[in-house]
């Protein structure tokens, strides 16, 4: 089952129906219940195992070529396509429907960060829903991570605009941080861990169809 081209899941316990993009039950006994999003990383296998050498992974013997490989590079928007039946609300096409974005929802606000902007601005100090956040983007692996810029003591950090060897410096203390784990590796804050913010890796159409009031970083809409 699809809702606006996105997966609808059901739980075995109540058979309520859930939008996976919203993480919310749209029908059934649990209608309206919101699940908790957890931080994750969409990256390549090499990068992931470098970050987490002790990771376990689904065996490569259990899958083959991605059946959607051609879809990713096609112009097609979802299974149903756009329109009143399944395709989500109409919208202006100021961003290509199949452009990749990182979507962040915080404090009732939704904001999308297009890859096209992230490749030019791989460090972004921003605030979403009142929460100071930093986006770090690795242009080699097209991997983005979002962190809360606040420390436990109330300090809010900002980060320098450039990344070197997947490290970024904060402007306050000059400590160097791993852009994917949010851990300070050296400097006065060495060992400090930023809180990672859950984010959604999506095609633009897949994000805006469910977050119709979303703003877009760097784009006036």
């Amino acid at each position: 089952m699809l809702y606006r081209n996105g997966l609808v899941m059901y739980d075995h316990q109540t058979e309520s129906l859930w939008s996976h993009i919203l993480g919310q039950a749209i029908a059934g006994e649990l209608r309206g219940v919101q699940l908790t999003f957890l931080p994750s990383l969409h990256t390549d296998w090499q990068t992931w195992q470098d970050l987490h050498p002790d990771t376990l992974v689904i065996s490569p013997g259990l899958y083959g070529r991605d059946p959607y490989a051609s879809y990713y590079v096609s112009g097609q928007e979802g299974v149903v396509g756009r329109g009143p039946f399944g395709g989500g609300p109409s919208r202006d096409d100021d961003i290509h429907p199949k452009a990749y974005v990182i979507g962040v929802r915080l404090g009732g606000e939704a904001r999308a960060y297009p890859f096209s902007i992230l490749v030019k601005e791989p460090v972004i100090n921003d605030a979403v829903g009142g929460v100071p956040v930093a986006l770090f983007f690795d242009t080699q692996t097209l991997t983005g991570a979002v962190f809360d810029r606040r420390l436990g003591d109330g300090t809010t950090l900002t980060f320098e605009p450039s990344i070197a060897n997947r490290r970024v410096k904060d402007t306050t203390t000059g400590s160097r941080w791993d852009i994917f784990t949010g851990t300070a590796l050296d400097g006065p804050l060495a060992g400090t861990q930023l809180a990672q913010v859950p984010a959604t890796y999506a095609f633009w159409f897949g994000w805006i169809d469910y977050h119709t009031n979303s703003t877009v970083y760097g784009v006036q809409r």
Partner: protein, 136 residues
């Protein structure tokens, strides 16, 4: 509500699953030699349509193209036997460029390869003491 404790969703929500309905049908009904994970559909016979009776969304925006469970979600009890270490995955030929969804919770890490997720869409798992669903 307590039921939900068993179904906490991970923040792995990605894009709308897509390809043409025909292609999707073909993909799951005709396993390719190079895609052994794309199983033949085994609809469970569940009928989820009545649940839509109290939906809080416009039903015009809901489409049912396949019966429930035609794309088989992975259940928690099935995951352990599917997992290998990084070294084992590399030895088995996993490409460094394969995209993965990675989660790391309380020191325990998991990678869900995207080509695998395309064939199953949901993995129910337990990582670092949390019960999660990785969805794609």
């Amino acid at each position: 509500m307590k039921i939900l404790l068993t179904t906490i969703l991970a923040g792995l929500v990605l894009t709308a699953v897509a390809c043409t309905p025909n292609r999707l049908q073909k993909a799951i009904q005709t396993p390719q030699p190079d895609a052994p994970s794309v199983a033949a559909p085994t609809p469970s016979g569940r009928n989820l349509q009545p649940q839509l009776g109290n939906a809080n969304i416009d039903l015009d925006e809901v489409a049912t193209l396949l019966p429930p469970d035609a794309i088989p979600a992975i259940m928690p009890e099935d995951v352990p036997a599917m997992l290998v270490t990084a070294a084992e995955a590399d030895a088995a030929g996993m490409e460094p460029s394969t995209r993965v969804l990675g989660v790391s919770i309380n020191g325990e890490s998991r990678a869900y390869p995207i080509p695998f997720m395309s064939g199953h869409e949901i993995v129910n798992d337990a990582v670092g003491g949390r019960l999660i669903a990785a969805t794609w």
